[in-house]
């Protein structure tokens, strides 16, 4: 902490501040572009830092990382396309809010919650790096497998309404995740067409599942020219929103804590932090039914979680050179080119650079919030676009975002196919979030199970390997609690509905 304060002023040199502000503004725009995930944005910028001072280069990368994570929420809220997997949970309530004419408020919520979560994550990182680094190394194949199972247990809760449909959607996602080469033996599976050799990449699936059904439903109603909701800038709501937002202590604290924990686990990444936090907040809420219909608490939970993840995901990176998220993996490159090798040395012989970097991450949180709120003031103009033009614009963005990930038209085909399927699915009550969760977690679960089994077979046996060890048992208990609670609350709602029906009968 003393070191942190000693080097803090170095982050405030004019050049570092300039780079910070530019990085944040650029990052917000990059993040808002579908398909340009934080990982891509940081990877694009790493070469630019070759020619900079080490500290300045890292300030740029840190600022862009922070801002792109939050920027992804802009497209999620305004046009229902998550900028990155991390923003799926934001969209569940953020987009309904925007449709009700509260886009600006939703965005304020998003940036304020991001700031709260982000700062929480940074504090965790500054104070608890050494113990958390050790914990992060405890996560091996068996623990990661159970983490994935825990994520799967969240699926049921992501469909407002039917648990069964959520689970079926999730299973469909898991099935998609096995397309391509198997991780251990590299045998091709379900490769019906050349397009599928590499499996279904996450960003095309994400854009297809969310954006394409959106385009279709926009077209359904596009002949109606009148909008029921009037979109105009909401003046003077900033202070009120800040107050209101900060009063959602429960959503913000659950989001921040869950995000920080997931950030520390190497490999899990922030992709699922938002969704898991969202589910927890919903479970602890007094009226879980309001989630998914434009409840600002949902936005607060999701955004605080995925920004809280940023700081802690750097802990295993800076101390053990094990990145906690895909983006942190790219940041590793940014460190290495300046000869900064992660490890204790980073905090001793290179303390000036390291602490400047950490300080700039803290400052970037504030800059992100301020510029994000400034941008949010113009959000109403996006919502005012007539449906017809919106459908065309979203299609263009969807194709652009999908193609730009790896300059591949195959991905565009995958995106449209999944999107069309999802449109039909949506008509019969399925939602996209469990499918995406299935695609992300299926790969993690399968890979780690097979790896764990290989290791266990040489040693203690599969059962023993997966069911002993305190960390395994804790995560298993969490899984059981999560499933148990879902069943319990479903049963309770069923009973309530029955009681209501009976009361009605008795009344009539």
């Amino acid at each position: 902490m003393v070191d942190f304060l000693t080097y803090f002023p170095q982050a405030l040199t004019p050049i570092n501040l300039l780079v910070l502000v530019l990085g944040v503004i650029g990052g917000l725009f990059l993040g808002a572009t579908p398909g340009l995930s934080p990982t891509m944005a940081v990877a694009l910028l790493v070469p630019f830092t070759f020619h900079m001072e080490p500290a300045t280069g890292l300030v740029l990368l840190g600022a862009v990382y922070t801002a792109t994570v939050a920027g992804g929420a802009i497209s999620a809220i305004l046009i229902n396309i998550p900028g990155a997997p991390a923003n799926i949970a934001t969209l569940l309530d953020g987009h309904p809010m925007a449709k009700q004419g509260q886009a600006q408020k939703a965005l304020y919520y998003c940036f304020i919650s991001s700031l709260v979560g982000g700062l929480f994550g940074m504090v965790i990182m500054i104070f608890f790096t050494p113990p958390l680094a050790e914990i992060s190394m405890e996560f091996g194949p068996s623990e990661m497998f159970w983490i994935a199972v825990f994520g799967i247990s969240v699926m049921a809760g992501l469909t407002s309404g039917s648990v069964l449909k959520g689970l079926i959607g999730g299973m469909f996602g898991l099935l998609i995740s096995v397309i391509g080469f198997s991780p251990m033996l590299a045998t091709p599976r379900f490769v019906f067409h050349d397009v599928l050799t590499g499996g279904v990449a996450i960003v095309p699936a994400l854009i297809g599942l969310f954006a394409i059904p959106q385009v279709f439903s926009l077209m359904e109603t596009s002949h109606k020219l009148t909008n029921d909701v009037e979109f105009k800038p909401q003046k003077g709501i900033l202070l009120k929103t800040i107050k209101e937002n900060l009063s959602h202590v429960k959503a913000l604290s659950i989001g921040s804590v869950v995000g920080s924990i997931i950030g520390v686990i190497p490999g899990a990444g922030g992709q699922v932090a938002g969704l898991i936090a969202y589910d927890q907040v919903r479970k602890f809420s007094k009226n879980p039914q309001s989630f998914g219909t434009g409840n600002p608490e949902g936005v607060a939970a999701a955004e605080s979680a995925n920004n809280a993840m940023v700081g802690p995901s750097l802990i295993p990176l800076l101390t053990l050179s094990v990145p906690g998220s895909p983006t942190a993996a790219v940041l590793l490159g940014g460190l290495l080119i300046h000869g900064l090798f992660p490890g204790p040395d980073l905090f001793r012989s290179h303390a000036d650079v390291t602490y400047t970097f950490i300080a700039s991450l803290v400052l970037a949180q504030f800059a992100m919030c301020i510029f994000g709120i400034l941008m949010a003031r113009y959000s109403h103009s996006v919502m005012k676009v007539p449906d017809l033009e919106m459908a065309a614009a979203v299609t263009v963005l969807a194709v652009f975002g999908t193609y730009s990930v790896q300059n591949s038209f195959d991905d565009v085909i995958v995106m449209f196919s999944l999107g069309t399927l999802m449109y039909i699915g949506r008509k019969v009550g399925f939602s996209a979030a469990p499918v995406v969760l299935g695609i992300i977690l299926g790969a993690i679960a399968e890979d780690n199970f097979l790896k764990g089994k290989l290791i266990a077979d040489t040693d203690v046996g599969v059962l023993h390997y997966f069911f002993t060890g305190s960390l395994n048992l804790i995560i298993i208990a969490l899984c059981a609690a999560s499933v148990g609670y879902s069943v319990f609350s479903e049963a309770r709602q069923y009973k309530k509905a029955k009681a209501r029906a009976r009361a009605k009968e008795a009344g009539s």
């Binding site: 990982t39 391509g180 080469f181 590499g198 050179s321 290495l336 890979d447 040489t458």
Partner: protein, 328 residues
């Protein structure tokens, strides 16, 4: 009316000719390159290959070299197969699409799997790095040298787990070579890249691992490095013996060579130009300094040297993998 139609037809032909001309212009090396060149990296952003590819091409925009920047496109999947298949099948052949290669990965894959590529579909233009595989064990491991590990493996066949960056990558080849040369059985655990494989060893989830010398070098405080799978000791780790010195007959076939290729069918003039420029660019003072600072072992080789190396590896790997292939 008729004249009008004729004019339309003429205009169409003229347009077609112009377009054809426009297409064929890049085929000539004259003025090549006149726009940014893209380079396919077959692994995800942040990996060692991606990072080094970005580093060694950072000077491409300089007029001394290409005068145009090189844009990296990541096409990861199936240990590199997705990217390389795309590169030879769908990539443009006009010299504006390059790819990075990893030996022995792509050669081993082309032997074991029905890939669209092999050493004959690539036109190498230069090699920038050589990263030998090193045998590592956790800090608190009972194995202090290769002999300990081999002795234990002889007593307990298959009980030693060895992590590596995936199937048929350099680390896997090194593990296969070690098993064959020492007459032992190990359980190879393929991971999704070098970083998770390294993590498994540091945290003691596996008993040993083969990993990149560069990554092991950066993590040497948290590991024991037993041996290096190369012909000579390495300047980064002068105290680590080669497997040969430890009495195990393993050569340098698993060394991970990284470089740049054009697809077969690229204009010869472009191949010649890049083959001349790239080794020079890799030898640039700035590039060399950054490679060294980041702990990435550099080895610059020319087109002819790379072609020779490809052929040698092909022959050796066919022999080593023949038994595995038969089992399938």
């Amino acid at each position: 009316m008729k004249g009008n139609k004729l004019f339309t037809r003429f205009a169409l032909v003229a347009l077609a000719v112009t377009m054809l001309l426009a297409c064929s212009v890049p085929a000539m090396a004259e003025g090549y390159p006149d726009k940014p060149v893209s380079m396919i990296v077959t692994y995800s952003p942040g990996g060692a290959t991606d990072f080094q590819a970005r580093l060694v091409t950072m000077m491409a925009g300089d007029d001394k070299y290409l005068g145009q920047p090189i844009v990296i496109i990541n096409k990861p999947g199936a240990g590199g197969q997705v990217g390389w298949n795309w590169f030879v099948q769908k990539g443009s052949k006009d010299g504006y699409t390059l790819a990075t290669y990893n030996v022995p990965h792509f050669i081993a894959q082309s032997i074991v799997y029905p890939t669209k590529y092999d050493i004959n579909t690539f036109e190498p233009v230069g090699n920038w790095g050589a990263d030998p595989a090193v045998l590592i064990v956790p800090k608190d491991s009972p194995f202090n040298n290769v002999k300990d590990l081999v002795a234990y493996a002889k007593q307990n066949p298959g009980k030693i787990t060895v992590s590596g960056a995936g199937m048929y990558v350099g680390h896997h080849i090194a593990a296969l070579q070690l098993m064959k040369a020492a007459g032992i059985k190990l359980t190879y655990i393929p991971e999704k890249g070098g970083v998770p494989a390294m993590q498994s060893v540091i945290s003691g989830k596996v008993k040993a691992g083969f990993n990149n010398l560069s990554d092991a070098f950066r993590n040497q405080d948290r590991l024991k490095i037993l041996a290096i799978a190369d012909l000579e000791r390495h300047e980064f780790l002068p105290k680590v013996p080669t497997l040969k010195e430890e009495g195990i007959d393993v050569d340098n076939s698993s060394v991970n060579y990284r470089g740049v290729v054009l697809p077969k069918g690229a204009p010869p003039a472009v191949i010649a130009k890049l083959a001349e420029v790239f080794p020079k660019m890799f030898n640039d003072k700035k590039v060399k300094a950054k490679m060294k600072a980041s702990g990435s072992p550099e080895k610059v080789m020319t087109r002819d040297q790379v072609i020779k190396m490809f052929k040698e590896r092909q022959v050796y790997l066919e022999g080593l993998l023949a038994e595995l292939k038969k089992k399938k």
